[in-house]
């Protein structure tokens, strides 16, 4: 059992133990789950410090037989791509527990237990290196999130929870078909073996098979991303979820889809990925613009942020399907940055909601006078989300645009409108909520940040600045992993940027160049 197994196991053990704590001991439950999640976070930092760059393949690998026949292995391991997504999950879970501290008054035992179960599933998804194990974690994630939305959500919570579950479940059964099909062909669920079989030509699919398999996997991931037009569950789920649920949903769960696209869709089905890239990119651009335009007219704060997610995630898909090192790096960077900035936005909107008990923008105004620190933190987060240089989102979006430009310059022109629109809807929202006339309702219900809330906000703001200023911490391992994936994807020799075969350092160079430019 290595460090990675431990990081995966801790939330699961914590989940079971939480269920044992007597219901009445609410404080003990909160403290315990917080301790568990902090422990998982601290250990996951060990993953980052112990991570060795320049190593081919996975690190912190465990590979033991789970079920003998059909042979399923407990095979987990991380590369640069999984590393930061795992840390993102472990980083946000304690913050979510802190957000929920006073927010969740009913059935808190189940709530905190479900947060740990969610964390378990998320870490597992990013660490799984066996298709079966991956699917298991992929589905496990649905259950706690379904309950988080359905039990502790707002008015239309049941509709949103069921819609969320069915959408993702229906799409992922197609992926299950695909996984079984690949298994029957390859004789293994082991992803490393499958990839090497594909690379060596031992495992081949006919054109039709590959296209269908690609579409099966793609649909499952696209729903999760969510890509326009299968995004419709997202605004509902976000609006109805309690704010810790929204944070986890936006920050980490959406990344499952993006991660799946990069990890599985590209390397396993390179030909189909290249062939279908054109319409996927069009959908991505539509998503960027549509999300932004719809966000602009939203009267509801959470819905606005939710549609901004659709827009941001469009960048990720655009970057992925540009098949360039820059695009892929940028996509990954947007994933991480969006995790921090949108997570923080949802959290701050949650703080506003706790005070004013409304999500309607018109119910606010003049908050800046009543709660200046809250306003400041909100402003930093909002600017990060807009894509202000020196804050996290900018670099990712910049790289994506650069990568996309290498692939298709025309499309970049449309995509580049995204950040401009983002500035419009976010600044306008900010103006209506925080400036203007201070009404009595707001005045009496708007205390500034308390200590617990500071403890939630500060780490996030630090991360926004860190990610915006010193990119190399995050980008170096990511780009290494992406280069490898790009190599696997380029077996059909139709790549835009010939990154194949280069040493990791050389491959990292363009990304680093882009970063300097960004600074």
């Amino acid at each position: 059992m290595n460090l990675l197994d431990l990081v995966i196991a801790i939330p699961a053990v914590g989940f079971v133990l939480t269920l044992v704590i007597p219901r009445a001991q609410e404080q003990a439950i909160r403290m315990f789950t917080l301790a568990v999640s902090l422990l998982a976070f601290v250990l996951s930092i060990g993953l980052a410090t112990g991570f060795q760059s320049g190593q081919p393949g996975q690190q912190f690998v465990t590979d033991v037989v789970w079920i003998a026949n059909p042979e399923i292995h407990w095979h987990v391991g991380i590369d640069g791509l999984s590393l930061w997504l795992i840390i993102l999950s472990t980083f946000l879970t304690p913050i979510c527990i802190l957000i929920s501290w006073r927010l969740i008054k009913e059935r808190s035992k189940e709530f905190f237990a479900f947060l740990l179960l969610l964390e378990f599933g998320l870490i597992g998804v990013f660490a799984a290196w066996d298709l079966f194990v991956f699917y298991v974690f992929w589905e496990i994630v649905l259950v706690p999130m379904y309950f988080l939305i359905g039990i502790w959500g707002h008015d239309r919570r049941i509709y949103a929870a069921v819609k969320f579950f069915l959408y993702t479940f229906a799409a992922s059964v197609l992926m299950l078909t695909g996984i079984i099909f690949v298994y029957n062909r390859a004789g293994t669920f082991d992803y490393a073996q499958i990839l090497s079989a594909i690379a060596s030509g031992k495992l081949t699919f006919t054109h039709l098979e590959e296209t269908l398999l690609f579409l099966g996997f793609f649909l499952a991931f696209a729903v999760k991303v969510p890509l326009w037009p299968v995004h419709t569950w997202l605004p509902d789920a976000h609006v109805e979820a309690p704010s810790p649920g929204s944070v986890m949903l936006a920050s980490v769960m959406l990344k499952m889809g993006c991660y799946g696209l990069i990890r599985f869709c590209l390397p396993m089905f390179p030909t189909a990925a290249h062939e279908n890239a054109w319409w996927i990119q069009i959908l991505a651009i539509i998503g960027i613009l549509y999300g932004a335009l719809v966000a602009m007219v939203q009267p509801n704060l959470k819905k606005l942020v939710a549609y901004s997610s659709v827009s941001h995630l469009g960048f990720v898909v655009l970057g992925i399907f540009s098949f360039t090192q820059l695009g892929l790096d940028g996509a990954t960077y947007v994933m991480l940055a969006h995790g921090i900035s949108t997570g923080a936005l949802f959290m701050l909107v949650g703080f506003l909601y706790e005070r004013r008990h409304s999500l309607a923008i018109v119910d606010y105004g003049g908050v800046a006078t009543a709660a200046p620190w809250l306003t400041t933190m909100f402003m930093i987060t909002m600017l990060a989300s807009v894509g202000l240089p020196t804050l996290c989102n900018f670099i990712g979006e910049f790289l994506v645009l650069q990568g996309a430009a290498q692939a298709h310059f025309t499309w970049t022109i449309f995509a580049a409108l995204g950040p401009i629109f983002a500035a419009c809807y976010l600044l306008w929202m900010f103006q209506r909520v925080f400036f203007g006339e201070l009404s009595d309702e707001v005045k009496h219900h708007m205390p500034d940040l308390n200590l617990r809330e500071w403890a939630c906000v500060v780490p996030l703001v630090i991360m926004m600045v860190w990610m915006g200023v010193y990119t190399q911490t995050f980008l170096a391992p990511v780009s290494e992993a992406n280069m490898k994936i790009l190599n696997q994807t380029s077996t059909t020799a139709r790549v835009v940027m010939p990154a194949a075969g280069g040493a990791p350092a050389a491959g990292g160079a363009p990304a680093a160049g882009g970063m300097k430019h960004a600074r």
């Binding site: 003998a68 026949n69 059935r107 299950l176």
Partner: protein
């Protein structure tokens, strides 16, 4: 000397008795229960339940002892192999769980009798016999023993109108369907001059020995109709919802699992061993029936408001999944069907235990809306129910998921791609009505039914916890059961 020979001709050897142990134990126990009934019915009403659990445990021991000496018994009428033993143990376990969940129900209905438990034991005798039969006549006898006991059980509370309706429907349609099976048997006997499966298989696989292969096809079709009725596969599923809804809840739990598992067992045994030669003829029948069962079951379940009826439709859908495994016609298909039936039995019995817990006197609270707020009032019950529901949906780490995965793996292995895709999409449709149960339990405010609910009785608690543990074990560490299933598939499977 001469006398000894003659006697040994009439008395089967001891090892045959050992192979027949579960049936012997259960028959004696069932008879004993009937005798004890007038003596103890007033004073120790729970005695019969305890005794039948003991008998069933002993019978499991007997089944294991029988498997220690695998082989034919009673001049090749019975065959004791891994396949049969798997199903014997399965129906015996279902029997124990049914008895456990019956205590409370019979107590409320004031209907604790030896007769009820004896009927359950007799029904299980029939099923044990069926799954170990190597002869069409034995199969038929086992099926009839099982069915007749089940018909009576469905109408057990004879003052209840719905019980009567259920029993009459079950009886009339059931006997009609058995007629088809018998007709098929007769045809096969006419063609091959034998009722022994091994012999029939031999004759049918010898080229030129059968005058009319078309007749074999007709026989297969007739037997398919009879068996499809028993497993409630579409289009012969019409009786299922009415019977399950009307029968006493523990009996519905039993009917949906044990007779069905046994019927699937003989389905597999007959079709995989003797009808391999005409497989191209009945394979389309199977997958059409599988697709219809899944689709009809799931879509009809969407509209239900009664939990029992909903579970009845869901049982049709689940029969459809098992039929997919049968349509795969392979060893992994057979193993998948076995595994799935075990997983399904556990979740279904568990779910019905919750229904029994909620129902109250005269089954007043069997609507889905009656579950409202169970998650707040009785979190443990609700959590256990949640495990079964997730298993029904097919969420990982439950037996239901692994079973489904395994079935569709077998189907894809046999190139049934479209059946797989449609089947899995069906399971997404199914998720909707199962989720409704979760919604009501956890997300609605407690209603009148839940407010007046009593704590779990020990019997029901056991009937909930044991299947829940089983469901999780099948989902997390399925290795042992899976291996057993894989090593005991039928020799005839392709």
């Amino acid at each position: 000397m001469l006398a000894e020979v003659v006697i040994s001709n009439f008395i089967p050897p001891g090892v045959d008795m050992q192979r027949f142990a579960p049936e012997i134990i259960l028959t004696i126990a069932g008879t004993l229960l009937m005798v004890l009934d007038p003596l103890f019915a007033k004073r120790f009403p729970k005695l019969f339940g305890h005794l039948s659990i003991l008998a069933l445990l002993a019978a499991i021991g007997g089944a294991v002892a029988a498997y220690a000496v695998p082989g034919m018994a009673f001049s090749n009428l019975l065959i004791i192999d891994g396949f049969g033993t798997f199903f014997r143990v399965l129906v015996l376990v279902i029997g124990i769980l049914t008895v456990l969940s019956s205590y409370r129900y019979l107590d409320i209905a004031k209907a604790e009798t030896g007769e009820y438990h004896a009927l359950i034991l007799f029904s299980i005798v029939g099923q044990c016999l069926m799954v170990a039969a190597n002869d069409l006549i034995m199969i038929f006898i086992g099926l009839e023993i099982s069915s007749i006991a089940s018909y009576v059980l469905a109408g057990y509370l004879r003052d209840d109108k719905r019980n009567n309706e259920s029993a009459i429907k079950y009886f009339l349609l059931g006997s009609f369907a058995t007629g088809f099976l018998l007709y098929g048997i007769a045809l096969i006997y006419g063609i091959t001059d034998s009722t022994k499966l091994s012999q029939i298989a031999q004759v049918l696989s010898t080229p030129g020995s059968v005058p009319a292969f078309g007749m074999v096809g007709i026989a297969a079709g007739l037997m398919f109709v009879g068996l499809a009725f028993k497993v409630s596969g579409a289009p012969f599923q019409i009786w299922t919802p009415d019977v399950y809804q009307g029968a006493p809840a523990p009996v519905s739990a039993f009917l949906g699992t044990a007779p069905k598992a046994a019927a699937f067992a003989i389905f597999l045994r007959i079709f995989m061993t003797i009808f391999q030669q005409v497989a191209s003829g009945w394979e389309p029948l199977l997958w059409i029936s599988a697709l219809l069962s899944m689709t009809i079951g799931n879509f009809a379940a969407l509209a239900q408001t009664n939990v029992k009826r909903m579970l009845a439709y869901s049982s049709i859908a689940h029969a459809g999944y098992v039929l997919v495994a049968l349509a795969a016609r392979s060893e992994i298909g057979t193993a998948a069907a076995m595994f799935y039936l075990a997983a399904y039995a556990l979740m279904n019995v568990g779910a019905f235990a919750v229904v029994i817990h909620m129902a109250g006197k005269g089954e007043r609270h069997v609507k889905i809306s009656d579950l409202a707020g169970l998650g707040q009032r009785q979190p443990v019950t609700a959590a256990l129910f949640t495990i079964f529901i997730l298993s029904f949906i097919g969420v990982p780490l439950t037996g239901g998921f692994f079973g489904k995965f395994y079935i569709f793996r077998a189907a894809l292995h046999s190139n049934l791609v479209w059946l797989t895709v449609l089947g899995l999409l069906n399971s997404a449709v199914a998720a909707y009505y199962y989720l409704r149960l979760l919604v009501v339990m956890y997300m609605n405010e407690p209603g009148e039914a839940v407010d007046n609910i009593e704590p779990l009785t020990p019997g029901l608690r056991a009937a909930l916890i044991l299947p829940a543990i089983g469901t999780l074990v099948l989902g997390i560490l399925p290795g042992a059961i899976l291996n057993f299933a894989q090593n005991s598939t039928l020799p005839g499977a392709k």
